[in-house]
């Protein structure tokens, strides 16, 4: 038991403690609260860096706690976990910065930031979970901690949205619970990566295990917003921008996608699921969701709604990558987990900036905003280009690997899905860009709050710019080892060599 073994717990605790302290703090202590938030975020990132070192040296820190006889709570930092934990810790920092700026002189901040940290804590738990039981625990905790954020505004719309959100996610949670419980009833406590046991189980009860697989995927699919279960995502748009950024880019949808990754790779094992023919349906659903989401996005006139539907479609890229049998597809899926996070967070930041600075919510109000808020608009452009999948922005890398993976898995038709969705992406992002940059300004801005400075206030602007440049860097230096791509390749290597 060397000191690294306690790291996963520490990573979890940083934000848990932050949450508790913030809950205790009185409302007025803004400076202190911000310091605690940012401090915790930075500490977490440092810890993650230590974890990365550990994982690169092939030793996986692990914490165990026996909850019930034969049922352990496992926090384990393997390479896949680090992938997600790293993403969320980095984005947490910037989202916190952004949120501090966004919620300046607005009420209920101690509540907001408390649940915010809690939400991140549960995301950490999800990423570091070492078995399905632990995963389930934090998965549900995430649902609980995000609900207060969704209804934060407290008006009727957000309360309604919150209800919808709960109906979807809790039902999904129940389905997931059913799946997990039945899996445990069959095979006991199955740690991630212990695919031999699952293989044995599948040998014994093939159709039962298939049903369980479907249950698991369906339960996770609700948060991952795959087609029939995507309804909550656009509704949850009433939440404040940082929440949307966090929900859509990192926490919730990714939790679902990440869970599916875990189930496919570390519970059933990719070869097994392929042999059982479990992947092909996922591929089809994902493809449909990709097209459907883009198509719906095309019809939205509200910026955040459009972004939400684009998320619906983008997250399914990940599932698509997972469902493509072969290393390239896997890389594509995993790397998109990060890339989509970076790009989408950028886009939501920018949408938030427009709303905060000029009160712009609808797309047709964006005319000529490029002159007024150039930096925000540049960031937005970068994000949009990434979504369309133009190099050197990160989105292209994912798309490329997905396409290659599709060909590798002899599923050529997937390419046309990718192409079609890129077309749709272009169709719903390029006009926006044209409005931003080339259309003349129509009249005055809807609700101009900040008139003194050229762009949004720094606290809002900097995170957007940083994430934008990160998403460029992730694409531009994709082949360097510590880039998302490099890490995804590392994971895939270990996955397929097993």
């Amino acid at each position: 038991m060397n000191w690294t073994d306690s790291l996963p717990l520490a990573v979890l605790m940083t934000s848990f403690l932050a949450a508790t302290i913030i809950f205790m703090l009185p409302e007025q202590k803004h400076i202190l609260r911000s310091t605690i938030n940012l401090g915790a975020a930075c500490i977490k990132i440092i810890l993650i860096i230590f974890l990365i070192q550990a994982v690169l040296q092939q030793n996986y820190p692990e914490v165990r706690l026996e909850v019930l006889p034969g049922l352990d709570l496992i926090l384990r930092a393997d390479s896949l976990a680090i992938l997600f934990a790293g993403l969320s810790s980095v984005l947490w920092l910037f989202t916190t910065l952004y949120a501090i700026g966004y919620l300046e002189n607005s009420p209920n901040r101690s509540r907001f930031f408390g649940y915010f940290s809690l939400c991140v804590a549960s995301t950490m738990g999800i990423s570091l979970a070492g078995n399905l039981f632990t995963f389930l625990i934090f998965y549900e905790l995430l649902t609980l901690s995000t609900y207060p954020l969704v209804v934060h505004r407290g008006n009727t719309a957000s309360i309604k949205a919150g209800r919808t959100y709960l109906i979807y996610t809790l039902t999904g949670g129940v389905v997931l619970l059913l799946g997990v419980a039945s899996l445990y009833a069959l095979g006991g406590d199955i740690a991630f990566g212990d695919i031999e046991r699952t293989a044995a189980l599948v040998g014994t009860w093939p159709e039962l295990m298939t049903i369980i697989f479907i249950l698991l995927i369906a339960g996770l699919g609700v948060k991952a917003a795959i087609f029939p279960f995507h309804g909550w995502l656009p509704t949850a748009m009433v939440a404040p921008a940082p929440v949307s950024a966090l929900l859509h880019a990192v926490a919730v949808v990714k939790a679902g996608a990440f869970g599916i990754v875990r189930v496919v790779y570390d519970i059933y094992g990719i070869e097994l699921s392929w042999q059982q023919g479990l992947l092909y349906p996922i591929a089809i659903i994902a493809s449909f969701t990709i097209l459907y989401g883009s198509w719906r996005a095309l019809q939205q006139i509200d910026i955040k709604k459009r972004l939400a539907f684009s998320t619906v479609s983008q997250v399914s890229y990940i599932l698509l990558g997972i469902s493509l049998f072969g290393p390239l597809g896997t890389i594509g899926g995993l790397v998109h987990l990060l890339h989509q996070g970076l790009m989408k967070v950028t886009l939501f930041f920018c949408a938030g900036n427009y709303a905060e600075t000029l009160g712009i919510h609808k797309i047709h109000e964006l005319d000529g905003v490029g002159q007024r808020m150039p930096f925000t608009s540049i960031a937005f452009t970068v994000g949009a280009m990434g979504m369309i999948g133009l190099p050197p922005v990160a989105g292209f890398i994912s798309k490329w690997y997905l396409g290659m993976g599709a060909l590798e898995a002899n599923m050529g038709w997937v390419i046309f899905i990718l192409i079609g969705s890129s077309l749709l992406n272009a169709a719903y992002f390029l006009p926006v860009l044209k409005r931003i940059w080339f259309n003349p300004q129509q009249g005055s801005w809807p609700h101009e709050r900040v008139s003194n400075c050229r762009d949004a206030i720094p606290l809002l602007l900097i995170p957007a710019l940083v994430t934008a440049s990160l998403s460029i860097a992730a694409g531009l230096f994709a082949s360097s080892i510590l880039s998302p791509l490099g890490w995804a390749e590392l994971i895939t290597l270990r996955e397929y060599l097993r």
């Binding site: 549900e140 609900y147 919150g162």
Partner: protein
């Protein structure tokens, strides 16, 4: 083992003494005295916990009188767990009451509380059926007194209903015991269990006993007395009632069920109990969803929770010992989690009502902005009640699910899942109210932070139980006659 070393007698003597003393001494001394009493209780129960976990089941004969006339006390794993639970919860509630009742001048609370506590400990420790009866009756009186304590008409009516129901129940129980004695000529649990045979008398007796206990536990169709009583009483009282009092009769039920191996001989009856539990889950959840008063919501959720707990009976089957063990653990865990969570939730609800001054949900608007900590406490308790992870409630539900999988009784799975959705529905309904930002009514009263912290501690305990469930599970699995009777 003599009286000084063993904590068992203290667990009975101190509360009784406390009851008498606090009745005699002047008002302003009662609280300090009781505080001292609380301390001793905690120490005693912890010591007992230590001893039992070290040396196994402890038998103690009051004043060395042996059964049948003497009062024989027995502390096995199950009893110990309940002792610990009741002293923790009761301490919390007592502290809360201490602060809360200082706010509104009422001093006669203490004697009743100590009586309650004494009877509870008596029930947990009783080794023969008649002591159980006495305990039940004392408990009833104390509880009814506490309910009537608020002395407005709602609580009075509730207390009368409660009293009648309880009396009926205990009479049935007494009759059953009498029949048992007639059949077997003994009252001690263990000797009854040894010489047990399924004659018609015994069957009638068991039926009577079960009926009476079910009525006192407020299992589904016989639950009508509970919501007004629990909802109408003062906050700490409601917490005590929901967390501990109903558990007493349930505890007795469980002991009979297992030690006399009823599950083995009347499987159909166990299914019936399961059905009743399911009914309680659905109906209680549904009614909770329809309530307009905060404490009524919580009270009805108690009804539903009792349903959960009584799902362990159909799962305690003779066929599958593994499943039965899981069901047993699950049921106990559920009971424990409910004790903490429900106490926490009632206290939090009481704080909220204290803030708004109105008992209805609609007036909770803006509460989560005004008292986030309190809402947080309420929420944590809610998490455990919903059976969402991480919480004792979840682990309990998990065990019950596993057990129903293993014993192939899939229908209980459906019930469990629907139930958790229902409970989520009614708890989040409350949340939605607290998050509403309607007209900014800043005429809130501010409760002292301490009572909020007490509520929070209980809720946190119910959450922590999710991580530490292994301890209670180990404690209740300590060897003893009870575990031997388990399938």
């Amino acid at each position: 083992m003599n009286m000084i070393l063993s904590p068992i007698p203290w667990l009975l003597v101190i509360p009784l003494a406390g009851a008498v003393l606090t009745m005699l001494i002047p008002l302003n001394w009662r609280s300090p005295a009781s505080m001292f009493g609380l301390l001793t209780q905690l120490l005693a129960s912890l010591l007992l916990g230590y001893q039992v976990s070290q040396y196994g089941t402890q038998i103690y004969a009051m004043a060395d009188w042996q059964a049948p006339l003497g009062i024989a006390l027995r502390a096995d794993g199950l009893a110990t767990l309940f002792i610990l639970m009741s002293s923790l919860v009761a301490t919390a509630c007592a502290l809360y009451a201490h602060l809360y009742l200082n706010l509104t001048k009422r001093g006669h609370f203490w004697p009743l509380l100590w009586f309650l506590w004494a009877s509870l400990n008596g029930i947990w420790l009783a080794a023969d059926t008649f002591n159980l009866y006495v305990g039940l009756e004392l408990l009833t009186f104390a509880a009814v007194g506490l309910v009537a304590f608020a002395s407005d008409e709602r609580s009075l009516e509730a207390s009368i209903r409660y009293l009648y129901a309880a009396l009926l129940g205990s009479m049935a129980y007494l009759l059953g015991v009498a029949l048992l004695y007639g059949a077997q000529g003994t009252l001690a649990m263990d000797s009854l269990a040894e010489t047990w045979h399924w004659g018609p008398t015994n069957q009638v007796a068991i039926t009577l006993i079960l009926g009476g206990l079910l009525l006192k536990t407020a299992v589904f169709p016989m639950h009508t007395w509970l919501p007004p009583a629990h909802g109408g009483a003062l906050t700490p009282v409601s917490a005590l009632l929901s967390a501990l009092v109903i558990k007493a009769s349930f505890y007795i039920l469980l002991r009979f069920w297992v030690e006399f191996e009823v599950y083995r001989h009347l499987p159909s009856l166990s299914q019936l109990l399961g059905v009743l539990g399911a009914g309680a889950i659905i109906w209680g959840g549904w009614m909770a969803l329809k309530q307009t008063h905060l404490k009524m919501v919580v009270a009805y959720s108690t009804v539903a929770q009792i349903g959960y707990i009584s799902l362990m009976f159909p799962l305690l089957t003779a066929e599958n010992s593994e499943a039965s063990l899981m069901a047993y653990h699950g049921g106990i865990l559920m009971l424990l989690a409910h004790a903490f969570a429900k106490a926490g939730m009632f206290l939090a609800a009481g704080n909220l009502i204290y803030c708004t001054g109105k008992p209805d949900l609609a007036s909770l608007a803006g509460m989560s902005r005004y008292r986030p900590l309190n809402i947080f406490a309420f929420g944590l308790a809610g998490v455990s009640l919903m059976g969402l992870p991480p919480s004792g409630g979840f682990n309990a539900k998990w065990l019950l699910l596993q057990s129903s999988f293993l014993s192939g009784q899939w229908w209980w799975i459906v019930v469990l899942l629907i139930g958790s959705l229902l409970s989520a529905a009614y708890i989040f309904r409350v949340f939605a109210y607290t998050y509403q930002e309607t007209e900014a009514t800043d005429s809130f009263r501010r409760p002292p932070i301490t009572i909020e912290l007490i509520a929070l501690c209980l809720s946190v305990a119910s959450i922590l139980l999710g991580f530490l469930s292994i301890w209670p599970v180990n404690v209740v699995s300590l060897p003893g006659p009870f575990m031997e009777a388990m399938p």
